[in-house]
């Protein structure tokens, strides 16, 4: 499967005639191209997600002929190499050298934290994918908008579903021993236990673990397993889980059953329940168009990463319309971005809360085999879910941030 993306810089493509005649023409000053920069990993451990992010952005831009709200788009991709230091340098390159108006990405929380202060200092509106909770909660970044979700957002929903629909009562949680893992498991545990469930233990595996068997072996007697592995690990985990002979139901977070990974799972993944802000089987115009585009251009199945970035560009376009194409005042830009409210996106309706985090539908899916292939089938849709769902914002913010030991495992 070869990638067709071998040009780093996409210059404004087709003829200048704007394809959209329904909106007011921008004034002369705004006929300069809009510069959008994407920070993603193209060469390191997270390259898989990075490729998909780039595919998502270019799919949307191509569907609009590289023109948003009447302005041509200059699109630049910067490779973060999964290194915070390089991410910072690349952010500087995008802002200082390429003079981008808007930054998309990055993917990982550690990449985002490396540039958080910088984007505030340079007032660069950013639409990130990184889910680090506190960036839109206790330490909010005023120039950040997030079209994906916080790390715990989908897990709140998973906890609810696991308790109420799957009827699980005693669950063991496994995840990577780092912040994304803590926040996912924390979100799951809180809602799960508030609905009558109990998390018996939380098992943490170091990053880079080749074989999860010693961790799977620690699973005590319970009626279900919850995991939040990301990257290449979800595929590996399900295989190794099956190899231990365990048959307990497994549920997971937004990365555990990512649609883009579906061709890579084996039959051992059938039955995996997972909660995600995007689902491949959502039936609406936007998603149909998106899936067709991804198939035509990249022969790829879109997942959470591609979808989040596709939607991000759509949000940028909507904000551009609202601003009449004027991006010269960053404070206005970020306000317009956060004010965007869309009905028809690839993930359904989307709007933002006052921290800039997405509020939309969360989908609980199950992996099944259809026509000889694995696919996710939505079991339940939770509508209008924000990052604090189902809690009251003030009460949520008053409690400590999810960490390795919070919520604690009650013995």
């Amino acid at each position: 499967m070869s990638l067709k993306l071998n040009r780093r810089k996409f210059l404004a493509g087709t003829a200048a005639v704007a394809s959209t005649a329904a909106f007011p023409m921008p004034s002369i000053a705004q006929s300069a191209p809009v510069k959008i920069g994407l920070l993603c990993d193209k060469t390191g451990a997270l390259a898989e997600g990075g490729f998909q992010m780039e595919q998502g952005v270019t799919a949307y831009l191509k569907s609009k002929n590289m023109t948003l709200a009447g302005r041509k788009v200059d699109f630049v991709v910067a490779d973060t190499g999964s290194s915070p230091a390089i991410t910072k340098t690349k952010a500087q390159e995008l802002v200082e050298r390429d003079k981008v108006n808007i930054i998309l990405g990055p993917l990982a929380a550690f990449e985002m934290f490396a540039i958080s202060d910088y984007i505030v200092q340079t007032k660069t509106p950013t639409l990130c994918l990184a889910g680090a909770d506190d960036l839109t909660q206790r330490k909010p970044n005023p120039f950040l908008t997030r079209c994906s979700a916080t790390s715990s957002q989908a897990e709140h929903v998973m906890g609810d579903y696991a308790a109420k629909v799957m009827g699980l009562k005693r669950v063991v949680c496994l995840d990577f021993d780092f912040a994304f893992g803590y926040e996912q498991q924390g979100g799951f545990q809180q809602v799960f236990e508030d609905n009558g469930g109990k998390v018996l233990q939380k098992v943490w595996a170091p990053l880079g673990t080749p074989d999860f068997t010693p961790f799977i072996a620690q699973i005590q007697a319970c009626d279900g397993v919850h995991q939040g592995f990301a990257g290449a690990a979800p595929v590996k985990f399900m295989k190794q889980y099956a190899d231990t002979g365990l048959k307990l139901p497994v549920c997971g977070g937004e990365t555990a059953g990512d649609d883009a990974l579906l061709p890579r799972f084996g039959d051992e993944a059938i039955g995996l329940v997972n909660a995600c802000p995007y689902t491949i089987d959502l039936k609406n115009d936007a998603n149909d168009k998106f899936k067709a585009m991804m198939d035509k251009e990249y022969q790829a199945i879109p997942g959470f990463y591609a979808a989040s970035m596709y939607v991000s560009v759509q949000v940028v376009e909507a904000a551009l319309h609202a601003l009449n194409g004027d991006l010269s005042k960053p404070e206005q830009t970020i306000k317009a971005l956060r004010a965007v409210s869309l009905k028809d996106t690839v993930r359904g309706p989307l709007r933002f809360d006052h921290f800039g985090n997405a509020v939309g539908n969360m989908f609980v899916r199950k992996i099944v085999k259809q026509g000889g292939k694995l696919t996710n089938v939505t079991q339940k849709t939770y509508e209008n879910c924000g990052q604090f769902w189902p809690y009251d914002e003030a009460k949520y913010l008053a409690q400590p941030a999810y960490s390795r030991d919070y919520p604690p495992v009650k013995t």
């Binding site: 190499g81 915070p84 910072k88 390159e93 550690f110 934290f113 021993d177 170091p206």
Partner: protein, 330 residues
């Protein structure tokens, strides 16, 4: 008549000082600062690889230790000066322990112990959350303002880094040209003979490790002020490997080699990567090419090529040796 080497060095120095003027923009000034920081780091590692004959695959751990010390001290309310002093002290202490353990072995054993120690530091960065904040990292709110100079400005930070770099380079020069440096090279080349002559080889190597740790700490401190952020990925094994590659590709056992190697890697990673998607492959190919054409390293190799070129263009001396030359007398 200025010897050509000195002339070239003076030219290079002038070019370094003039960077903010001939480099096109703040972004490139920042990259230049980064090159200098990694050059100091590479110098520190070269003290061990080139002059002591000990390859360390764990120096990113010490580098990160200094960075974390600064960040943690600042977060705890310390002054900038206090943070720097604390970081140097902590890093030296860390190096003392590091070296005491690693010097139990030489050769491949040394490499492995340093690798293991580096991995342990990496793991600590993730797990000792009270100090390091785990993988969310620690940010540095503001750079210091020595003598009222605002280091937030790219060119000011560059000059401050340049001063530190020149000091480090001078220190390294004095070190390798001192009697201690000579005895260090002795332990590299003929450890048994040195022992027979009465030198305490272990102690010599130990002090070399401490000096290496000092340079590494200086680089780590500058680094955290540069990125204003430190997190565990900085201490990963590939970072330690990378600085070793800088030293070897530039030319180990020389002072200018590590600088060239640092420049190579930083330029490919940060600048070439903007134009070439497969920059990792490019970097690997460059390393292979260096091994094929200049196995002793970029700097020694270039000097060798330069001497060869000079000899080739200089007119040959006439036979018989005197300028007027009596031709062909049998």
């Amino acid at each position: 008549m200025i010897p050509p080497r000195l002339f070239v060095l003076a030219l290079a120095l002038a070019a370094l000082i003039a960077v903010p003027w001939w480099v096109p923009g703040d972004y490139y000034i920042s990259v230049s600062s980064q090159i200098l920081i990694y050059a100091i780091f590479a110098l520190g590692v070269d003290v061990l690889i080139g002059y002591a004959g000990l390859v360390s695959l764990g120096h990113a751990g010490l580098f990160g230790l200094a960075s974390y010390a600064v960040a943690a001290a600042l977060a705890g309310g310390s002054s900038q000066f206090g943070a720097v002093v604390l970081a140097l002290a902590v890093a030296l202490l860390g190096t003392a322990v590091f070296a005491a353990l690693s010097l139990r072995a030489t050769g491949i054993g040394f490499i492995m112990i340093t690798l293991a120690l580096g991995q342990i530091m990496w793991g600590l960065a993730y797990r000792w959350v009270d100090v390091t904040n785990g993988d969310n990292g620690v940010g540095v709110a503001a750079r210091p303002m020595p003598f009222g100079l605002d280091l937030e400005i790219a060119s000011n930070f560059y000059f401050a880094t340049l001063v530190v770099f020149l000091l480090a380079l001078s220190g390294a020069w004095i070190f390798v040209h001192s009697p201690f440096g000579a005895s260090l090279k002795g332990t590299r080349d003929q450890p048994r003979r040195m022992t027979a002559l009465g030198y305490n080889v272990w102690l010599i190597r130990y002090f070399a490790c401490l000096f290496s740790g000092l340079l590494t700490a200086v680089a780590g401190i500058l680094f955290v002020y540069y990125t204003k952020f430190i997190s565990p990925p900085t201490l990963v094994l590939t970072s330690s490997a990378e600085v070793v590659l800088m030293v070897i590709s530039g030319g180990s056992g020389t002072l200018l080699g590590p600088i060239a190697g640092a420049a190579l890697v930083v330029i490919v990673k940060n600048l070439a990567s903007a134009y070439i998607e497969r920059w990792n492959m490019l970097l690997g190919a460059i390393f292979v090419a260096i091994v094929v054409f200049m196995p002793e390293g970029l700097v020694p190799g270039s000097m060798r090529l330069a001497q060869w070129a000079l000899k080739a263009i200089r007119p040959p001396l006439p036979a018989g040796g005197s300028p007027s030359g009596k031709a062909g007398a049998p």
